[in-house]
Symmetry: C2
Subunit: 446 residues, 2 copies
Amino acid sequence: MPVDTLADLLGREMTPTALEEAAQLAAGLSDGDLVGLVERLPAARASVLLQTLDEGRALAVFASLDAPHQAVLVDALQESYAVGLFVAMDPDDQVSLLDELSPDLAEHFLAQLDPRARALTSLVRAYPRQSIGRRMSPEVVSVPMTDSVDEALARVRLRLQDAETVYTLPVVDEGRVLVGVLGLRRLLATDPDTPVAEIMRPVESAVVTEDAERTARRFLDRKLLGMPIVDADHRLVGIVTVDDALVITEEADSQDHARQGGTEALGRPYLSTAVGDLVRSRIVWLLVLAVSAALTVQVLEIFEATLTEVVVLALFIPLLTGTGGNTGNQAATTITRALALGDVTPRDISRVLLREARVGALLGALLGSLAFLVAGAVYGVQIGLVIGLTLLSVCTIAATVGGAMPIIAQKLRADPAVFSNPFISTFTDATGLVVYFLIARAVLQL
Amino acid sequence: MPVDTLADLLGREMTPTALEEAAQLAAGLSDGDLVGLVERLPAARASVLLQTLDEGRALAVFASLDAPHQAVLVDALQESYAVGLFVAMDPDDQVSLLDELSPDLAEHFLAQLDPRARALTSLVRAYPRQSIGRRMSPEVVSVPMTDSVDEALARVRLRLQDAETVYTLPVVDEGRVLVGVLGLRRLLATDPDTPVAEIMRPVESAVVTEDAERTARRFLDRKLLGMPIVDADHRLVGIVTVDDALVITEEADSQDHARQGGTEALGRPYLSTAVGDLVRSRIVWLLVLAVSAALTVQVLEIFEATLTEVVVLALFIPLLTGTGGNTGNQAATTITRALALGDVTPRDISRVLLREARVGALLGALLGSLAFLVAGAVYGVQIGLVIGLTLLSVCTIAATVGGAMPIIAQKLRADPAVFSNPFISTFTDATGLVVYFLIARAVLQL
């Protein structure tokens, strides 16, 4: 594949002829391939690749990278070249990049903008991080509700070059208060003399200070192309487009996905992340989990006498804890997703617990009877009974707890993914072992 | 909240006055709130709610539900009403719904369409499931490359009512072969006499038979608004819009997310899924995992003598297997995400394995030395040494295996999420135990 050829080529020493060749290969690739390549190459080679592209493409490729990765490349690029890319970006993208740069460098970059651009960028930058205001574009085409359709179209024509979008047109009153929205399509479909006020639709909007992720999810959930952003007095201040919403949710999903696996998101492509950073992204969680897992050692110590008496009990420890962990994770995964999709809300907690308890009991009954038969045949009826009963109880507890955790997290205004699957496994390990040995003592009369 | 009031109201007996009240409450809610409510209510109540809405809103709400859930509601709705909704849907959405209905019912619904609509729907329905052709809209506005800008605009005006989108305009040659693409914005910004051929852009397209998910991901990755779909001869046959792409990826994400937790996706809202179906979505995986976990029992049996001699070794089993599982899951989670984002491709496998081995060794060294100090202090230097060395080896193995699994899955053209986290835990449990007891025997000279 030409992509791979180019990747290898960039690995070699960059003679003028090699650069020439690279430029030709790159010219033949789609923007998508180039983005993918830049994301996989070490910063040094990626920056060489960027500089072989003509301005327009280099900007398109650079703009579609995550801000943290853009920052890495900025360090590797010639400063003048990096500044050139920065100046050409949209205000909201500029802000995301500035957030990743050192304060001095950020100031230096800002200073390169012409006054109007700097004003727009500083305006966006003034909103709190995590807020949607920080991710919106201030370059919005608004239509006064007193306009007729052709007056509105005239306004659109004036802004075709600079506006973030012309497909979603917020309608405002004389006080710039948002009163409705119009699609360009509808505008074109309507008789020119019709007053805009007659054809505008009810508008789905967000306040600048709202949480960026929640707003983006609502945006995508409603399948919008653009969402007007308003200030506290409902005055129009900007607009968010579908590409912004996609970037925001992708960042958030990386976070959640990482948390589910008990690690922190890298915020930049895997292959261009240093091994030390990978370790850092995992060690904290791993330590927390290992320390809480020490609890299981305590538990087993309590029952050491029982263990010494019936060593065979030790054989089933990984099977029982493992199954408990799996059942808990299944419940947690299902509920976390249901919460994310809005299928379940915290006020449904009692319904969820009831259902999960029943599901867990059913799963436990199935696995338990199976285990009773198998273990019973191999290690005798008593052991079979212990294993069977333990699976029944452990599955019931694990499913209920696993289903409750994400809801409790959300009730505590924490990310449901915080109680990650590893966390639930560790929890069910400890409780499962207690149940196991209590049942064993009872059944084996120890 | 009015939403909750409405939900409760729908729970009661539906007297004419109650219906009246419900209709008024619903009228005050945004489409988004209504969708959320419909997704949480049992089918019977949801269908009542739908029928209190005016036609336009009912359609908007119904259309934004997943097809499987739509099918559930169709059963609960009066047939005439359900048919009314179906007829008003877009061809691609009609096909998704038909796929969920019984063959007879599907035929009956199809028969209700007027000939032209039926032709369009049957056309989409003719493409294989899982293909993007099945999810595209055939109602696309194409522009001949011989057109001038104002001729092109005239075509757009003719199709404002029925076309799926007018913002992305595929350009075709006399043989209807796709040669480029034009944004409506650019069209409006250009002098009317300019030939379209001069301003069209290189086009990102997909072949009807391509995999729907892969195409949708490319679509969103490239931040497009519309992607032309072509046949094997590169002739334009339809278009996919951003809302289609979002629905496709959301379905796929639910699948992957479920797999990660070792369960099957429900395909419909959690609270309106029967407990039996929940059990069915989990039992298979749970059984597979439990059976493979039986392997750990075998392993421990081999070392039963060692266990009887040094029962204290049993105390650390959950800690060691748990930590191994966590380390493996961290690696698997990171790599699965990197593959999904295209940051890593299967040809990077050797680089990934090398990095994960180093990361695992570092994590193991940190945890191991900590464990050596603690366990050494409590249970003596020898035990401390065994635990420390085991953690070092287990973490190294687990990270490497966990990192390799998703890539191997992809190489085998399987879903990387198939080797779910529970699967990896079970695998690392068995290997970890072997390592544990081999080290124990060596250190304790048993």
